[in-house]
């Protein structure tokens, strides 16, 4: 039998966000404390350590000849232990990108007020195999001038500020 308007309307009670915040309906609050310390393992451990040194390191699989970044202890396609470490460049090519007016909490950036939108991109790293990209941010470029295939270079934090993190690279900027 058909699911009609009548059947469906009785099932849920519509609320506005304010009904809850103003206490028109009763509610209970809770903020869980969910903290973690994830073991990096040899691959990610070395990746971060080399970022601190200002290098970008990858790992090769001699079976499918991929130069993999971020490095990993096994090749997930050939399903065998990966082979030698190889340093790759801190330059690359924009595979695809975004001009984002929102942050991770779905808050809107004050673009009108002069805040630059976020421009994250998938960047294919030179030296890694074709199509092997990483997510990172673009900056020092007009958001509307970014194009597919644009050549970019990493802008590093000063050595003393680097902590061994992906954010040791502040962003990528176009290579003139």
């Amino acid at each position: 039998m058909e699911i009609t308007e009548k059947d469906v309307l009785r099932t849920t009670t519509k609320l506005s966000a304010n009904d809850i915040l103003d206490g028109k309906v009763l509610s209970v609050k809770w903020t869980p404390n969910l903290k973690y310390a994830w073991d990096n393992g040899p691959a990610i451990g070395r990746y971060l350590a080399e970022l601190k040194n200002g290098n970008v390191i990858a790992k090769k699989c001699n079976s499918c000849n991929r130069v993999m970044i971020p490095p990993r202890m096994f090749c997930e396609l050939c399903w065998r232990p990966s082979d030698e470490w190889t340093f790759v460049h801190d330059t690359g090519t924009v595979n695809t990108w975004v001009v984002s007016h929102v942050d991770w909490k779905a808050g809107r950036l004050d673009i009108a007020g002069g805040i630059r939108p976020y421009t994250p991109a998938v960047i294919e790293i030179d030296g890694a195999s074709k199509g092997m990209g990483i997510l990172h941010l673009l900056d020092e470029v007009d958001p509307w001038k970014i194009f597919r295939g644009m050549k970019v270079k990493a802008v590093w934090k000063p050595a003393e500020e680097r902590t061994g993190s992906i954010t040791d690279i502040k962003y990528f900027k176009p290579i003139e």
Binding site: W30, D39, R72, F74
Partner: protein, 382 residues
């Protein structure tokens, strides 16, 4: 059940309090490598995979994303069961019986040592409206259940302490176990009360580790394995989740899961037809409560038999020869993986010093821990 399904390969990393030198990727990769070697299969030959994970116990809000790579399941049929490992095993078996897969793999992992606020996470499983606002520790739920179980069955704290002594000693001779120790009952009875009558040593410490199990349809199993271990029966059940209306003395979920498995296996008298069991003992009293729920012992009898050594490795009905959660470590949703693994090793005669003699049928049982009323049972034969 026309078709039969067998376990043709198992692999594990063993269970330790911490595994600081490997990430979750390498941990599962090792277990999978060993399991596929044990079964004599390549990932290419595996038709379907089932991963087991709970988001908050991995630190992702969609942990399922990070399951295919380390199992060699990229662009292959894989999905995640957010439940206990035995439910994943049941899922893998159902895929084989449905004809969708000949060889299927079930995987589970614990990185409990990476969870810095584990107690907060278990609290986060409580009912947010009627229970969590009290802000009480999840161990209060276990304390209240232990109190009711002792009250209803006449089991004593000393008998629960004897479970701890037995399991932690068994763990000393189980190379896979992480928390073996030789102690006597006083250690347990005098350990600090956490939530009466539950003392610190009544509670399993947690461990890291991974288990991968390879299942195969009957004919395939006979081709690949010299010692296939047959799944004769499997069952799982969830009782009411509410604290207010549940049965606090009995593990009804374990009884119903057991009955489902016994029916499938054609077992009428479990105590006679089953030789040994790996039972969930996240808290000491749970081993006794589960044994009685599974009709292996009558009400109040499990504690007595344990006191007299009946459930020791040398006893009439060995329970947790591996050391159980108390000896191996609580692995959360991997607990079922540990019990299945140990029963398979025993039935294949590969349990080393703890090896039981002339056994044909074993039972593996698991429970999803506080505050759940969900458990599963699998019955295996060689």
């Amino acid at each position: 059940m026309t078709k039969r399904v067998a376990i043709i390969g198992v692999g594990t990393t063993g269970f330790r309090a911490t595994t600081p030198d490997v990430s979750y990727r390498e941990l599962t990769y090792e277990a999978a490598t060993k399991a596929y070697l044990d079964a004599g299969v390549e990932p290419k030959q595996i038709d379907a995979f089932v991963a087991t994970s709970e988001d908050f116990l991995e630190g992702y809000s969609i942990a399922d994303e990070y399951s295919p790579d380390q199992l060699g399941a990229v662009l292959k049929p894989i999905y995640t069961v957010s439940g206990d490992f035995l439910q994943s095993l049941a899922s893998a078996q159902m895929m084989i019986l449905s004809g969708v897969a000949n060889i299927a793999v079930a995987q589970g992992m614990s990185k409990a040592s990476n969870m810095l606020t584990l107690s907060d996470m278990v609290t986060f499983a409580m009912d947010p409206i009627y229970n969590r606002p009290l802000g009480e520790s999840p161990h209060a739920v276990a304390g209240m259940e232990m109190a009711r179980f002792l009250y209803e069955t006449g089991t004593t704290r000393e008998q629960c302490a004897q479970v701890v002594v037995k399991n932690k000693r068994n763990a000393l001779t189980n190379p896979l176990a992480g928390h073996g120790v030789a102690l006597n009952m006083d250690y347990v009875l005098n350990s600090e009360i956490v939530s009466s009558p539950l003392a610190q040593l009544d509670i399993s410490p947690h461990s890291d580790g991974a288990v991968v199990v390879v299942l195969a349809e009957e004919n395939t199993a006979k081709v690949f394995s010299k010692k296939p271990i047959w799944i004769r029966g499997i069952g799982w059940c969830s009782d009411t989740p509410g604290l207010e209306t549940r049965n606090w003395g009995q593990a009804v979920y374990a009884q119903m899961a057991g009955d489902m498995a016994y029916k499938m296996a054609g077992i009428r008298n479990p105590r006679k037809e089953i030789n040994f069991a790996e039972i969930n003992d996240e808290f000491s009293y749970k081993e006794l409560q589960h044994l009685e729920a599974l009709r292996l012992f009558k009400k109040g009898e499990a504690g007595l038999v344990t006191e007299m050594g009946g459930t020791e490795i040398s006893g009439e009905f060995p329970v947790n020869p591996s050391g159980g959660c108390l000896g191996v470590g609580n692995l959360f949703d991997l607990n079922g993986g540990h019990t299945v693994l140990e029963v398979v090793l025993q039935l294949r005669g590969e349990a080393g010093k703890n090896q039981l003699s002339n056994i044909t049928t074993g039972l593996a049982q698991s429970w999803r821990g506080v505050p759940t009323t969900t458990g599963a049972v699998v019955i295996l034969s060689n």
